[in-house]
Structures are given as C-alpha cells and as structure tokens.
C-alpha cells in the first residue's frame, strides 16, 4: 500500500533526527562482548557436563552449544584471541597434516595422571579445543585408551580459554578499552579511531575469505578430486552449520558497524539463504556433480559478498585492505 506523503516526510524527519548510531563502540558493545560472554558461558557448561559424564551422548548438546557460540566469534582473530595461541587451540583447523590427531594420540598413550587442565594448557594447540573433543567423542576408529580423562581435561582447558578470552576483552586494561580509547596518549595498540574500523573491516574480509577458501574450498577440492573428508567438523555433522553461524556472526558485526551498507547486507542475506537451503550438512554432496554445483554456488555467493564488502564497506568506513598486506613482494 502506498504511504501518504505526510507520513513519508515524517519518517524522513525522524530518520534525520535520530539516526541509528553505528560504529565500532556499538560493534564492541552489541556484538563482540556479548559473543565472547556467550562462548565463555557455553564452554563452562560443557566443562560442567564433562566432569559429570564423558559419554558422547551426554555431552552432545553442550558440545554443540559451545561450538555454536564459538563460530559466532571465530572470525575475530584479534587481541586476546591471538594471544597464547587461543584461537588456534580452540579450533585447530584446517589441519592438512593431521597434527591434531598425532598430538592427541601421544597424549592418550601417556599417563592419564598427566591429563590435568594445567598439563593440557602446555600441550600442542593442535591437540586441544573443540576438534580435540570431537575426535574423542566421535572417534574415526576405536581409541587406544579410555578417553575420559582427556575429554575432561580438554573441556576444562576450553572453558579456561573461553573465560580468559572474555576477560581479556573486558575491564580497564581489556582489549575493548584499547579500541575505545584509540588515539589517546599511551595507546600503542590503536593510534586512531579509523584504525579500529580498519581492523574490524579486515576481520570481516578475512572471515569471508576463510569461509570461501577453506570451509567450502577444502571439501570442494577440484572437480577431478573432490575432498568431502576435509570438511570442517565433519564427525559431529557441523560443516554447514558452522558456515551459517559464521555468516550470521559476520553479518551482525557488519550491521553494528554500519547499517549504511545495503549491498553488503543483501549479499549476506543471499549467501545465508543459499546456505540455509543447502540440505547437505557435511558437504558430502561435493562428490556428486549436482551436489558439488550447489556448494560451488554458495562459495561463489560468499566470494561475491566478500568483493561487495571490500568495495562498499571500505568506502563507507573509509578504510582499505592494507597498503602492504594487499601488495606483497
């Protein structure tokens, strides 16, 4: 129904009078901090559940809740996530050389008494985290030893890292404050507000590239050699839902940063629509011509989204992809 002109004028006036505030303080407050808080809460619940039982069936709901929560913040590879190898240890993927399975086998073959949360914190980042748990709960082949002590230590280690991440963003010395105080005396992390926008823009771009090249690209392999076995979190059946959750997280981050990116947000919705309609939870279809085409179409949509964001967001936020980072020599 066409709206009367008076109402349109009123709406326009309201829009001018109270523009939606959106910038990095809103992104931090509305998306990043709640995202990390939710992950810390979910990881703590998974730890509690694991101490009560280490059966896959009992742990499955808490495992998925924690994994869901991580995917929403997984692209935020900055600050506390990059310290002590946390993001690597929480989700060590891709792992083409099977480093995780090897390091974990060594842990399983060792003394169970050494499998404390403190001991595990010193172990290889490849052996730990969500995929470490996945290998124990849904083993590809029978495990050589009782996995229970390692399940409990891995869950506790994960909960500790999740809490450290949440805490690392909060408080006067937290990473959120470093962003919010950009450009003030003594802030060596961010020399200006535009640097914070640039950093978040870079994360969005890199996150989309990771989805297209790794999460979709690895199982796609080549036409002659599809690699469905390389899909992320295949054993727990999460490959597609991880992509959906990550796209949703990146969309929320983008919208909180600037709602004045209609093409980018529409491209997000298009890619999300394709992903949600894809009835192929672990991309097993890449081995068939028809199934492969659907995953390729999703990959193309994510790449188109990345390219749209690179133009529209960069213009809107007055940022770029890095003078040297984008060049290379």
């Amino acid at each position: 129904m066409p709206r009367p002109p008076v109402l349109l004028a009123l709406m326009a006036a309201l829009a001018l009078a109270a523009p939606a505030r959106a910038d990095y303080p809103e992104a931090i407050r509305d998306v990043i901090l709640p995202g990390y808080a939710a992950f810390a809460e979910a990881a703590a619940a998974l730890d509690t559940a694991a101490q009560a039982s280490c059966e896959a069936q009992a742990l499955e709901p808490a495992f998925h809740t924690a994994f869901d929560a991580w995917m929403a913040v997984a692209p935020l590879r900055i600050g506390p996530a990059e310290e002590d190898g946390r993001a690597l240890a929480i989700l060590f993927w891709p792992d083409p050389k099977g480093l995780g399975a090897k390091a974990q086998a060594a842990l399983l073959a060792g003394e169970p008494a050494a499998l404390t949360p403190e001991g595990l914190a010193q172990a290889s980042v490849a052996a730990r985290g969500l995929l470490g748990l996945e290998r124990l709960l849904w083993p590809a082949e029978p495990l050589p030893a009782d996995p229970c002590p390692l399940v409990r230590a891995t869950a506790a280690d994960l909960a500790r890292m999740a809490a450290d991440l949440r805490d690392g963003w909060q408080g006067d010395t937290g990473f959120a404050q470093a962003m919010l105080s950009a450009g003030t005396e003594g802030n060596a992390e961010f020399l200006s507000g535009p640097e914070v926008r640039q950093a978040i823009f870079t994360l969005i771009h890199a996150g989309l590239e990771q989805i297209a090249d790794q999460q979709l690209g690895r199982p796609l392999g080549s036409f002659d050699k599809p690699r469905p076995e390389l899909a992320q979190a295949r054993a727990s059946g999460r490959s597609l839902s991880n992509v959906v959750l990550e796209l949703q997280g990146l969309r929320a981050l983008t919208e909180s940063l600037t709602p004045d990116a209609p093409l980018t947000l529409a491209a997000f919705d298009h890619a999300l629509g394709l992903a949600e309609a894809l009835a192929d939870p672990v991309f097993a279809g890449v081995a068939t011509p028809g199934g492969r085409l659907k995953v390729e179409i999703l990959q193309q949509a994510v790449r188109a989204l990345r390219d749209t964001a690179a133009v529209e967001l960069a213009r809107e936020l007055d940022v770029d992809l890095g003078f040297n980072a984008a060049d290379g020599d």
Partner: protein, 351 residues
C-alpha cells in the same frame, strides 16, 4: 653470538662519515611511500623524522643509498622497467636507469663499499633466470652482468669483504603481470658470489621447503638471516626465518607453536641488530623478534607493518597507515604518525 670481527665491522660502518648526505639532512634511513595518489621517497632521521621528501613517478619498492653521495637509486615495483637515481638534496633525477632489452629489475640493489659499482637484482624477462646487473656508480652506465645462481633473485647483501649473497626466490613470473608460473617446481636458493661474480657456494632448502621462497636478507656475522614467503598450503605451518653462513647448511628458525600462523606464511622484510633479528608480516600484522641464534623472543602486533631496519639497540618499523614505530623485545611504540603510506622497505644508510 656476534664475532668480534663482525662487531668491529659494524661499528666501523656506523662511524663512516657520509659527508655527501649532509646536504639531504643526513638521513639514517630511506623509505618509499604514497600520499594520496602521489608517490615519494623520503629520508628519515634515526628517530623517524622526515628529513627530505622527493617525488617518485610510480610506486617504489626498495632503494639503494650511495655510500658517499646524497644519491638514492629507487627501484620500481616488479616487473621493474626502470630505476631512478635521485639527488636527495634537490630532488633532481640525475639518471633514469633502464634494464637492457629482455631484462627486468627485481626490486633491490646494492652499492660496492666505495660506491664505484651498483649491483641490481634482475631477471631475464622470459623464464625469470636471475642476473646481477652491474652499473657504473658514477655514470650509471651498464658495465656488465653476472648469473645470480638461480631463478627470480630478489634481495642481496654485500659481505664486508665484497662477496655478495643473493636470495634467489625461485619463482618464475609472467613478464607482464607478476603471475607466478612454477609454484609446483620452484626451488629457491641462497647463492654466494665472489667479487668477480663467480658462484662460490649455493644452498637449497630441504625438499619439503621448496615452496618457501627466499626473498629478503639481513647481514648477521659472516652470513645472513633470510626471510621467506610460503607458496604452499597456507594451513601448513612453516618457518619464515632462516640463518645461513656460507660453507654450512641453512638452518630454519620456527616461531613458537602458538604463533605458527601469526605471519600467515609471509615475511615482508627482515633486519638485524647486534643481538636480535626482526621479521615483519603485513598480512599477519606482526613483527616477530628472534635472537641471533634463531630463538623466538617476542611477537608484536601492528596492522600492515612491513618496513623494518636496525636502529640502535632496537628496530624502526613502518606501516601502511603512515606510522613509524620503535620495536624492542619489550614492545612496539609509535614514534611518528601522519607520514605517507609506507611501502615495503626501510633501507638503513651504511648497510
């Protein structure tokens, strides 16, 4: 550990007066950058102040500073079809160097100690076979060329006795657009050339590292530290730093496990002080510090950081946002902001 001889040589190099450079503000470093759409070459003081700015017609890569005169040779980005000899005091372009037919500059050059000869890394455009171009250091006339000992040479460093170490990156590129043509078969190497250009030593990396392109060098003791760029699967953790003393095998220096992907497989620049090495990754946004024996010391974060040079007991770093930063094991702190978008390299005078 630094040998006594290398230490004294370092002091001597630092103490050599460069009277000609006083006319250009006595810069300690040269760096290329971009301001708006304009490119420029700047001289920087030891503390990051800009002491001269001269326009460049296009994006630069690295520069070579004449050891005596206030002259810089600014190399274009690859595939380099020109280099300019700039009078850094007046901005006048004294010479425009063009590689011979069928050759391209590859971004780096170095003068002999007395400034009489300029050596430039070059490739034969078709096939990327490496050459070291030789130019008269006074007239900038072409006086000859050597075989670089490999494919796609990039950086090179002159040892105190005049021998030259070349990083042959191993990558064949399309002469028109830098497309990489041989990633499956690439075999980078380090080559030591005599003062006459004879190959004295040449070392390749282990077979599983054949996709780790050796690109940049810093003098350390009687040899070099080298920085690499991984052309293999980005999910494979590989070192970006190595050490080589001619006569021995090169040794790779992995970072701490938690930092194994921090550089994203890409080191853009390298520098050495008397007791530490630094490599930068603009892609990962990190500066990584190591001891001279390759022990990891620290990792500092700074978006789009690339240029790095030794500065006293620490390092000076530059980034694509126009900041110059002081880097030590303890941390990274801004010294100056608002400069041009600094390009790949900071070149220390007297190195």
């Amino acid at each position: 550990m630094t040998s006594r001889r290398a230490f004294l040589a370092g002091l001597a190099a630092a103490a050599v007066p460069k009277p000609g450079w006083a006319a250009a503000g006595s810069p300690a470093f040269l760096a290329a950058g971009k301001r708006g759409e304009a490119h420029e070459l700047c001289g920087l003081s030891a503390t990051g102040g800009i002491v001269f700015r001269q326009p460049l017609p296009a994006r630069g890569h690295a520069a070579a500073a004449h050891p005596l005169r206030a002259e810089a040779v600014a190399f274009a980005r690859r595939p380099g079809v020109f280099a300019l000899v700039l009078d850094c005091a007046t901005g006048a372009v004294r010479h425009r160097m063009t590689p011979p037919e069928g050759r391209q500059f590859n971004g780096h050059g170095v003068f002999s100690a007395d400034g009489a000869v300029l050596m430039t890394s070059e490739v034969v455009a078709e096939g990327s076979a490496g050459r070291i171009g030789l130019w008269d250091g006074a007239t900038y006339a072409r006086i000859g060329e050597w075989d670089s000992g490999g494919i796609g040479p990039h950086d090179m460093k002159r040892l105190a006795d005049g021998r030259l170490i070349v990083a042959n990156g191993g990558i064949k590129t399309d002469p028109g657009d830098r497309t990489k043509l041989n990633l499956k078969a690439m075999r980078p190497n380090l080559t030591l050339l005599s003062q006459e250009g004879a190959v004295l030593d040449r070392e390749e990396l282990a077979p599983e590292m054949h996709r780790n392109s050796i690109r940049h060098l810093a003098l350390v003791g009687e040899g070099v530290a080298f920085a690499m760029q991984w052309e293999g699967d980005p999910a494979e953790p590989v070192p970006q730093l190595g050490l080589w003393t001619p006569g021995s095998a090169p040794r790779l220096c992995p970072p701490l496990e938690a930092e194994m992907f921090a550089m994203q497989g890409y080191a853009g620049s390298i520098a050495a002080t008397q007791d530490a090495l630094a490599i930068t990754s603009p892609r990962g946004g990190v500066v990584m510090l190591f001891g001279l024996d390759g022990t990891p010391l620290a990792t500092h974060r700074r978006a789009d950081v690339c240029g790095i040079a030794s500065a006293g007991d620490g390092f000076l770093a530059s980034d694509g946002a126009g900041a110059l930063l002081r880097v030590t094991v303890e941390g990274i702190a801004p010294l100056a902001q608002g400069g041009p978008q600094w390009d790949n390299h900071l070149v220390a005078l007297g190195s």
